[in-house]
């Protein structure tokens, strides 16, 4: 498996080489676990959501279209849908995992602790400070940095141009950095 393969290439090659999906998983496992932990503050939920997100990604890898955006944005798009489902229904879906025959996760205490450590890394102060940003900057930073959404999609969601989103993210991050430096 060449390390140089792009995300899109890995997804395409999954059809012939299952280990390509393993390489894709390796690239985004930590990022997804951290994303879900920050959203839920629960390691077991984060693991469950990560599993369903990757299962959805595998099930729809054939339909991934690089022209519509990066694989990262696509994967986190799936992740956001899974998270929205949790908030809406109060439970994690397992449709994709059942369809693909993926075994239920067996989580040890050590695994749960590692996930919590990963998710909380460098986080609580910045997350609290995030709430102090002006609404437009907070939504832009949250969308771009925490939810990993691309500028094009954010511009449409926030109903403004990409330049405006970039500027809000840039200014929001600068404010956060300055405030963190003040805290020491």
């Amino acid at each position: 498996m060449p390390f140089e393969a792009s995300d899109a290439e890995l997804l395409t090659r999954t059809r012939e080489d299952p280990e390509a999906f393993g390489a894709f998983y390796d690239r985004y496992e930590a990022a997804l676990l951290a994303y879900f932990w920050r959203a839920t503050r629960r390691s077991d939920l984060a693991a469950d959501l990560t599993a369903e997100t990757f299962a959805q990604a595998l099930a729809s890898a054939r339909r991934f279209d690089p022209a519509r955006g990066s694989a990262r944005a696509w994967l986190f798009g799936i992740a956001r849908h899974e998270l929205a489902d949790v908030w809406e229904r109060g439970r994690v879906e397992d449709q994709a995992r059942r369809r693909l025959g993926i075994e239920p996760l067996a989580l040890s205490d050590e695994m749960l602790e590692r996930i919590e450590s990963l998710g909380s890394r460098g986080g609580p102060e910045a997350l609290e400070l995030l709430a102090t940003l002006p609404e437009d900057q907070r939504r832009a930073v949250q969308g771009r940095v925490l939810e990993e959404r691309d500028y094009h999609e954010l511009a449409r969601t926030l109903d403004c141009s990409e330049s405006v989103v970039r500027q809000r993210v840039s200014r929001g991050l600068r404010s956060l950095r300055e405030r963190l430096e003040q805290i020491g």
């Binding site: 059809r15 280990e19 496992e29 693991a47 025959g101 990409e162």
Partner: protein, 337 residues
Amino acid sequence: MSYLPELRASLVRAAAREAAAPPRRRALGWLGPAVAAGVALAVVAAAILLVGHRGGNAGPSAGAAAGHSSGAAPPPMPNLSGAEWSRIQKARRATVTQDPACSPSAGARPALRPGQPSGELTAILGVLRRPASATDTTPLKDFQHGPFDVYRAAIRLAREQDGVALYVVPTANVSGWRPVPQRCAAEEAAALGRAMKGASSKQRAAALDGQRRYLAWQQYEAEHPEGVCMAEVDHARGNGGRATGAGGVACGWNVGEIEQGLAGLGASGSPGPSLFHGIVPDGVASVVLVLPRHLGTVTARVLNNVYLAPVPRSVQAPDRVIWRSADGSVIRMTRVP
């Protein structure tokens, strides 16, 4: 080291099973006639809704710069909550699984393409009618992160100020979508209706209304694919045109959005005051930016369909942009989103 090694192994095994399995076939089975009947009913309902919607459309606002070249006023992008959007996307996925023609994705597109934009776009943007010159070559080596379908030979340098160069970049498809057959709206409505079976009739009606507005907006965008992007090159910071701060490429506005005053609104990331910019159609000679917090106004001259106005660093965006013609009369006032 993997955090969840068993999950990884399980996914790879599932990938191997998927690779070995024959492609899935569409199979409606006994559900076929029932779904077809439901779709037929939904088509009628959607048609009634559509007629009602068009009948109630107020059309372009008074005072628009020029007659709308592309027909009816573009529907606004609906402001949907995350849950609404998620439901709509689920209904989309369910529909596309049964009817792949309902996927709005235009598929893989080249970054650059030969040719020129259509008359619809050049009719309202004089900068695109100007013959090419050596200065029109952007230092952007490629557009590997988008936009796609860029008419390479039609890119024009519009403005250069304080080390910031702005290029108007016409593209054949700014949204990446393609129009879908008319039946798809009804199929998606039927899928959403099924997904909300347990919800109250009021909730279902609200969800279907949001979906209808979303699909109408998306279809309009797909049917009017041509548009412009704006590439910003900040020579002062030597970023070479790739996105840093507020620089880079911003996309993409079709003719309707340009005429509504929504194109190119943004500020460059240059040092010093922010340079707020926008793209305007022919006939707009100057713009007045009304700044927030009673900070006054800034007037900027339009050159090559683009204005570039310094605003204080503390201002993210003006509250309003007023277009004026050469004789000073107000053509349009746009509230900046």
